[in-house]
Symmetry: C3
Subunit: 364 residues, 3 copies
């Protein structure tokens, strides 16, 4: 088991260490459940009691904590605790263990170019003309179809599926089961359909013929920028003619659905089960809570933030903070729904008013 000295950890966090900085720990723990070899994470005074209950000899502490009074031998102080978690967990994460080289069970097309430093696990399938960059790690049961390109240090976890001609940037992470490059969901009827009429009239199907759906195939692919992460069992469709794109630094959570032709900007966070319908454009630094939905063929501007399960039906200007179904500005939503809860009382008030006014009229 690997271990880390307090000074080594402090250095990784660009933080200040005090006390017995040569003390070594093997992992991190919540204060109350920490063993003697653990670094306790106590960045808030509320963890003080936990520290006493647990066995940690070293901790990351809140600003101003009296580490000696807390019975510790060493401590680290950090200015922004949540950011320190990034440095600490990166240091301590051993990561998935995929042996270097190509596992003998992998099926690799002879035309594929695999960098010598890449690690390819059991039962991986790599198609013709695929290119895999330096230090890429590919876990078991991954499939990479014809002509796809995988960037350097990419990490493709178990059972991820990469379609033909998909491009993944450097350091891209695909969680298990993620599917990049499924066909777009694009179908058309020979004549105008009821859906087309409803969209035009906002509610009227008119007398559309009864028809079957004909498939529009996806000739485009998916391009994913550097430092993107895609969650478990998420799915990103290829474009019809152009590529579906995900910008550098954007993170998609589990079970997220990205439709065909969608363009997602840089540094976005799309949380669990978010869905973006076909041909919509999402700006940079957009954050969407879990289960948000975006209509097709609209745009969501830079820096939009949408609370959980917000359903965005129309274009959203840059910087807007949204909530609700349909999406409203967050503060307007809070007001409107306060009103909704009080509606039964309002109906009673109005009924009483009608009666009062009617009586008043009759008494005139």
């Amino acid at each position: 088991m690997s271990s880390f000295s307090i000074s080594q950890i402090a250095s990784a966090l660009a933080a200040q260490a005090v006390g017995a900085v040569d003390l070594r720990v093997t992992g991190a723990s919540e204060p109350a459940s920490a063993g003697p070899d653990h670094l306790a994470l106590a960045m808030d005074p509320k963890y003080g009691d936990g520290l006493t209950a647990g066995q940690a000899q070293a901790a990351i502490l809140w600003d101003g904590a009296d580490w000696q009074a807390l019975g510790l031998k060493a401590a680290i102080f950090v200015p922004r605790p949540r950011y320190a978690m990034a440095g600490l967990t990166t240091l301590m994460d051993a990561g998935p263990q995929i042996a270097a080289g190509v596992h003998p069970t992998a099926v690799v097309d002879p035309s594929a170019q695999i960098d010598e430093g890449a690690a390819i696990g059991p039962f991986v399938v790599i198609g013709a003309d695929v290119r895999i960059g330096p230090k890429a790690r590919i876990a078991s049961h991954v499939s990479i179809d014809t002509g796809a390109q995988i960037g350097s240090q990419a990490l493709l976890l178990q059972g991820a599926k990469i379609g033909a001609r998909v491009v993944l940037g450097d350091r891209v992470i695909l969680q298990p089961g993620a599917c990049i490059g499924s066909d777009g969901f694009s179908f058309v009827t020979p004549e105008k359909s009821g859906v087309e009429n409803v969209r035009a009239t906002l509610g009227d199907q008119q007398d559309a013929a009864k028809q079957s759906w004909t498939r529009i195939h996806s000739l485009g692919s998916v391009h994913i920028g550097d430092d993107v992460e895609v969650g478990a069992n998420a799915a990103i469709d290829r474009g019809t003619i152009r590529n579906t794109t995900i910008g550098r630094g954007t993170k998609l959570d589990n079970l997220v659905h990205i439709g065909h032709n969608v363009q997602v900007g840089e540094d976005c966070l799309l949380c669990g089960q978010v869905g973006i319908a076909g041909s919509s454009t999402i700006g940079n630094r957009v954050v969407m809570g879990g289960q948000c939905g975006v209509n097709d063929n609209i745009f969501v501007g830079d820096d939009v933030i949408a609370g959980g399960a917000t359903k965005i039906f129309t274009n959203a200007p840059a910087g807007r903070v949204l909530l609700g179904y349909p999406a409203m500005k967050m503060d307007a939503h809070v007001e409107a729904y306060k009103g909704l809860r009080r509606l039964p009382r309002l109906f009673r008030d109005v009924a009483a008013l009608k009666k009062a006014v009617s009586n008043s009229d009759q008494s005139d």
Copy 2:
């Protein structure tokens, strides 16, 4: 790289070609990014500038466009542009490349009957008594359990999972990771549960006992008609006694969930992340936008159209156009939500009225 003549494309689209119809193109592009070997897709006058900016020598054009003035050598005119996309992309899609025959790594039960023309990829597992039809194509890591039947020309993409006794019709397409025939989510408590009481009373749990759940196993399977498509990482549960069924021509998008015993009709479109709870019946030609939900044990009539994220709790008559949570007629929903946004003002108005009437009463 394959190429196509303008006359060949026009013929595939049953459309009219003009100019140098023997010119050959290797792919389709948006006008502005088209190279000299591309067919530009410019079915709307708004693409006129793009044509000038790009290098295409041939294009599909909007009705009435002056192809020569646009600097083209050849052009195709189509009456319904979106429908033309179906023909064009079908012609140009080379499709997944799965070598004919059975890959040597596949594990195939000796009792399985595989048509000679079928293509079976690496690491595919085919169970006892499975039957696979002519020209079916099965990509890597697919599993097909005991007694399942796969129709002719079916296309099962990477990692799709087909359960025991599932029947897939001809030309069915399963996107990567689709799961057909998972067990139904059906559990029961020995005595009446709080959920049963809430359903009966619309809100009151009464004093239900604290109990664990006992599993109802799924003895039925899933039957899927011809020309059905199922999206990436979607899941369709088997029925309890009868089969869950998906009718001919219906298309399910990524991450769609179909519960046990559900009957979906023909020619439906269920967009990304739609969920249909157990034992509900969906009619023919029903269209649901992304993230719609349907309650269990209800029916949704033929030709119902539901906007994005509509939650259908009660039976929906044929032809109804729905929106909202809970679902309302689309036009009523639009009106109601206009009101919701204006609620804070309404409360102020009513407060003012109360004051006015009260003053008026006092002044009487």
Copy 3:
């Protein structure tokens, strides 16, 4: 094909059998489609006509049914029909057929400990230090990463993915494609982000800097209790420091998403596409309909029941029955939404009142 005598079935259900109890059946059917070898399921008088139409000679009947008048040779009477379905389907389900022992194509690390009675299918990958309990059954394409523990009689279906150090209890069932132990979705910016500001102010981003996201790695794992079931293509993230936990007897449906650090109690039912955001706590016996969502860092008390697509943003006390977005008590929701539908009329009423009061004022 296996068959069952009527007395054997009645005994399994702890129920009463009458008539020719030695009659044997090979399966169960709905009454109208039953063949002569089927047990018809007719627990409600509405199935009387179906019995006559079908060919069943034996049936499970509603209380008080006259089995002889219905033309049956044998019948079983059960006090709680739905509960009887559990016993019947358990008896009749042959279950997936996975040959005992380790399939020759499986890749098993020499340090893994696999009980002799376990069944391991084709193309399974088992990592270092994994422990697999007695009679566990593991279907094709499953991957089990370093140090994971699988309980006795667990059933892991096709393509399930188990991450490092995950613990699965006895009799756990994973449906195909379920992913246990994906990395948590946890990212942080160097300085305060717009999202942090919006949370603090309920709507105002303030002037947050434009920043990229830094990853917080997941050092914890996932612990799943006995008798838990996880649906097809569902995903459960590992914890950051502590483990994500799912309590004994809880059932998760298809495409459910459980974020990092989440603690789900015992005997819960979370239906299709439910999502629980990071660090929230769900009590015991909680039931959530399909597509419910739970905000991060909140708690949902014991015995809460939430109707379909309820979005829970704030702590929910034990025993609460919820519905809506945002969640309200179910009865309050029903009242509020009745009001919402009648809002256009209320606006007209208030406009008329304003006019009446204004006229009355002017006429004073």
